[in-house]
C-alpha cells in the first residue's frame, strides 16, 4: 500500500482561537487533494498547521504511520514543503538558483556548504519546473508565473513526501494557471509526492484534483472525488445560491460557474 499523509481529529487555529475542529483526512503519495471553502474557512490555517508553522490544538498528523508532530523542525522540513500564498521573496533580489537552493537547507543545515549531490537535486528541480534557463535571473525580474514555478522548484528541492501549495493559481493568467497546475499533476504522479493545495477558483478544481475536501464553519463538510463534491447539493449550503454546476461537454466532469443575482 502506498504511503499516506493521515490527519486525525485535528483542531487548529491561532493561540486560543480555534479555526478548525475535529478534522480527519488522508492523502496518498501521488495524489492531489484540493481544499476548497469560502474565505476564512481555514484552508490556509490547515496548510500552515500541516507545514508545522502552527502547533495543532489537538489531533495527530502522520506520514506513513509516523507522527510528523513529534519531528524536529528540520526533520519535518525534509518531509513537508510549503509554498505560501504571499511570495515575499519576490521583492528580494536573490537569483533563481539561490532561491531554489534554499530548499536544501533542511538536508544540509544552515551552515555547511551544499554538496555536489545537493547541486544535482537543485539542478533537477529547476529543470523539472522549466526554470533552469532562468537560474541566474533575479527574483524581482520574474513574471508571476515564473515566480510560482521557482517556488515550486524550491519545494521540490526539499525532496519532500508532501508538498503544500497555498493558492498556487491565484494572480496568474489562464495560460500560467493551466501550465502550473499541469506541472503539479505530473509532479504528484511522477515523483510520488502527496500534494495538498488550496484553490478558491472552483473551475480549476476538477482539472487538477484527485479528491476534494470542502471546508466550512470550522469543519470538514465533505471529502471525495470532484464529481461528487462539486455538486449543487454540497456547494450551495456553503457558498450560497449564486452558482451553477454544469457538466463539462467533453469530460463530463463538473464545472462550477457563478450565477449573478438578478441576471437571467
Amino acid at each position: 500500500m502506498r504511503d499516506r499523509l493521515t490527519v486525525r481529529g485535528l483542531a487548529c487555529g491561532y493561540g486560543d482561537r480555534r479555526i478548525l475542529t475535529d478534522l480527519s483526512l488522508d492523502v496518498g503519495a501521488g495524489e492531489v487533494l484540493a481544499l476548497i471553502g469560502p474565505n476564512g474557512s481555514g484552508k490556509t490555517t490547515l496548510l500552515h498547521t500541516l507545514a508545522g508553522l502552527l502547533v495543532p490544538q489537538a489531533g495527530e498528523v502522520e506520514w506513513a504511520g509516523r507522527s510528523l508532530l513529534a519531528l524536529a523542525r528540520r526533520e519535518r522540513a525534509r518531509a513537508v514543503a510549503l509554498s505560501p500564498q504571499r511570495a515575499e521573496e519576490a521583492a528580494w533580489p536573490l537569483t533563481v538558483a539561490e532561491a531554489v537552493a534554499l530548499g536544501r537547507a533542511p538536508h544540509r543545515g544552515w551552515f555547511r556548504p551544499l554538496t555536489l549531490e545537493d547541486d544535482a537535486v537543485v539542478e533537477r528541480a529547476m529543470e523539472r519546473l522549466g526554470v533552469a534557463a532562468l537560474a541566474d535571473r533575479l527574483l524581482p525580474s520574474l513574471s508571476g508565473g515564473e515566480l510560482r514555478r521557482v517556488l515550486l522548484a524550491r519545494a521540490l528541492a526539499q525532496s519532500p513526501r508532501v508538498i503544500l501549495l497555498d493558492e498556487p493559481a491565484s494572480f496568474l493568467d489562464l495560460h500560467y494557471q493551466a501550465e502550473l497546475l499541469g506541472i503539479v499533476r505530473r509532479l504528484a504522479a511522477e515523483e510520488g509526492v502527496a500534494v495538498v493545495l488550496t484553490l478558491h477558483d472552483l473551475t480549476l478544481v476538477s482539472a487538477v484534483a484527485d479528491r476534494v475536501a470542502l471546508l466550512a464553519d470550522g469543519r470538514l463538510r465533505a471529502v471525495g472525488e470532484p464529481g461528487r463534491i462539486l455538486s449543487a447539493e454540497h456547494l450551495v449550503p456553503v457558498f450560497g445560491p449564486h452558482l451553477e454546476v454544469l457538466a463539462h461537454p467533453r469530460s463530463g466532469g463538473p464545472l462550477v460557474l457563478p450565477r449573478l443575482p438578478g441576471v437571467a
Binding site: P93, T95, E117
Partner: protein, 392 residues
C-alpha cells in the same frame, strides 16, 4: 555539530539515501556529463563547478578580490592625503622601512593616519554589514544599522556621561565611548522587550520596527532635554553625535577590532538563514529555520558591531544604508557574497569620507558624518531613481 545533525547524516546513508537518489533521477545524467554539457551550452566556463547556491556565471569572487584590492589602494591613498601631502612612495617607505626615511613622515603615517584610516575601514565595514543584515531581517531596504534604536541610545549614553561628568572607563573604552556603547546596547534591548510586550507574534518584524522608532524618538527627546536643561557646552556632544575619526589612535583600533571581527564572522555565518528570512517568516519556518532564535542572533551580532562602531567613532549615517544597496546591485542579494561585498564597500566608502573630512577645509576638520550624508544623500537618490524605487 549537534547530535541530531549527526543522526541525520547517518540516516541519509540509510533509508534516505534511496530517496535522494530517486530525486536525483538517472544518476549518471544528473551528477555527471549532463550538467557539464549544459554548462558549456550556457557559456559557463568549463572546469568551473556549477554551484546553484554560489556564484555561477556571476564572476562574484573575482569582484570581491577586486574590491579588496581597491580597499588596499584606498588605505594607501588615505595615508598620503591630508593637511600635509605625502607621496605614495614616501608612505610606502615609511610603512615597510622601520629605520630609514623621514622620522616626521613615519610619525604622520604610523601614529596619525594609519590608525584612523584602519578604524574608518573597520567601522565602515561593520556598519555596512549590520545594515545589510537589518535590511534582510526587516525586508526593508530603508533599514539602516540604527533602525532599532542603537544610535539614539548611544547618544543618550554619551550625553548623560558628559552632563553628569562620568569618568569611568572600562575594557579599553574611555568614559564617553563606554557610555555610548552601553546606551546602544540598552536601547536595542528595550526595543526587543517592547516588541515582545506589544503582543502579536513575539519578536515580529513590524513590532520591532515600530518599537525602535518610538523609542528612538523618546531617547532623542531626552538628549535634547538634557542639553537644554543643564545648559551644557553642547559643542562636544554635538561634534561626537556627527561622528568623527579625529584624534583616534591605535588604542581605539585595538579595542574595537575583536568585537567587530566576531560580529562580522557571526553575520557571515548567518548568510543562509538571512536568505531564508528575506523570503518571509512562513518560508523560513517551512524550511526548518528556528526563526525567532535566528533573528535574535542576527540582531545581537549586528548590534554588537553597531555599538562598538558608535563607541569608537560616534554616529555616522548613510554608510550602512548605501553600501549594502550598492553591493546588492553588484552582487545580488545572496548574503554569502553580499555581506563581504557590503563590508568592503562600506570600508572603502568611509576611508574616502574620512579623507574628505580632513582635507576639504584644511586646516579645519569637519565631522565625517557630514561628509557621508552630503555624498550619500544624492547618491542614494540617484540609485533610487535608476531602480524605480526597487530594492536592488
Amino acid at each position: 555539530m549537534t547530535p541530531s545533525d549527526q543522526s541525520h547524516r547517518e540516516s541519509e546513508r540509510g533509508p534516505d539515501a534511496e530517496r535522494t537518489a530517486g530525486v536525483t533521477a538517472k544518476p549518471g545524467q544528473a551528477a555527471g556529463s549532463g550538467v557539464e554539457r549544459r554548462d558549456a551550452e550556457r557559456g559557463v566556463r568549463p572546469g568551473g563547478v556549477t554551484r546553484p547556491g554560489g556564484g555561477r556565471s556571476r564572476p562574484a569572487w573575482r569582484s570581491l578580490v577586486f574590491l579588496a584590492v581597491a580597499l588596499l589602494l584606498s588605505v594607501w591613498a588615505s595615508l598620503s592625503l591630508g593637511s600635509s601631502l605625502l607621496s605614495p612612495l614616501e608612505v610606502w617607505r615609511a610603512l615597510v622601512d622601520n629605520a630609514g626615511g623621514d622620522p616626521l613622515v613615519r610619525v604622520i603615517v604610523w601614529e596619525l593616519r594609519l590608525p584612523r584610516t584602519l578604524l574608518a575601514a573597520m567601522v565602515g565595514a561593520a556598519l555596512a554589514m549590520a545594515g545589510a543584515s537589518f535590511q534582510a531581517l526587516f525586508r526593508n531596504a530603508l533599514a539602516d544599522p540604527y533602525v532599532i534604536g542603537a544610535s539614539s541610545g548611544a547618544a543618550l549614553g554619551a550625553t548623560l556621561a558628559m552632563t553628569l561628568g562620568w569618568s569611568v572607563g572600562m575594557a579599553g573604552f574611555g568614559p564617553l565611548p563606554l557610555a555610548a556603547f552601553l546606551g546602544a546596547l540598552g536601547a536595542v534591548l528595550i526595543t526587543l522587550l517592547l516588541a515582545e510586550g506589544a503582543g502579536g507574534e513575539a519578536g515580529s518584524v513590524a513590532s520591532l520596527l515600530l518599537a525602535g522608532t518610538a523609542l528612538g524618538a523618546m531617547l532623542s527627546a531626552a538628549v535634547s532635554f538634557l542639553l537644554v536643561w543643564r545648559d551644557q557646552p553642547w559643542f562636544q556632544v554635538f561634534n561626537w553625535l556627527l561622528g568623527s575619526f579625529s584624534g583616534r589612535t591605535w588604542v581605539h583600533v585595538a579595542v574595537g577590532w575583536p568585537y567587530l571581527a566576531v560580529s562580522a564572522l557571526a553575520l557571515w555565518l548567518a548568510s543562509r538563514p538571512l536568505d531564508a528570512l528575506a523570503g518571509g517568516d512562513a518560508v523560513a519556518k517551512s524550511l526548518g529555520l528556528a526563526v525567532r532564535p535566528a533573528r535574535l542572533a542576527v540582531i545581537a551580532a549586528a548590534t554588537l558591531a553597531v555599538a562598538v562602531a558608535v563607541a569608537v567613532s560616534g554616529i555616522i549615517g548613510f554608510v550602512g544604508l548605501i553600501a549594502p544597496h550598492a553591493a546588492r546591485r553588484l552582487f545580488g542579494a545572496g548574503h554569502r557574497r553580499l555581506l563581504p561585498a557590503s563590508g568592503l564597500l562600506g570600508a572603502i566608502l568611509l576611508v574616502w569620507a574620512d579623507v574628505g573630512a580632513r582635507t576639504v577645509l584644511v586646516p579645519v576638520e569637519i565631522p565625517v558624518g557630514i561628509v557621508t550624508a552630503l555624498i550619500g544623500g544624492p547618491f542614494f537618490l540617484v540609485l533610487l531613481r535608476q531602480r524605480g524605487g526597487r530594492i536592488a
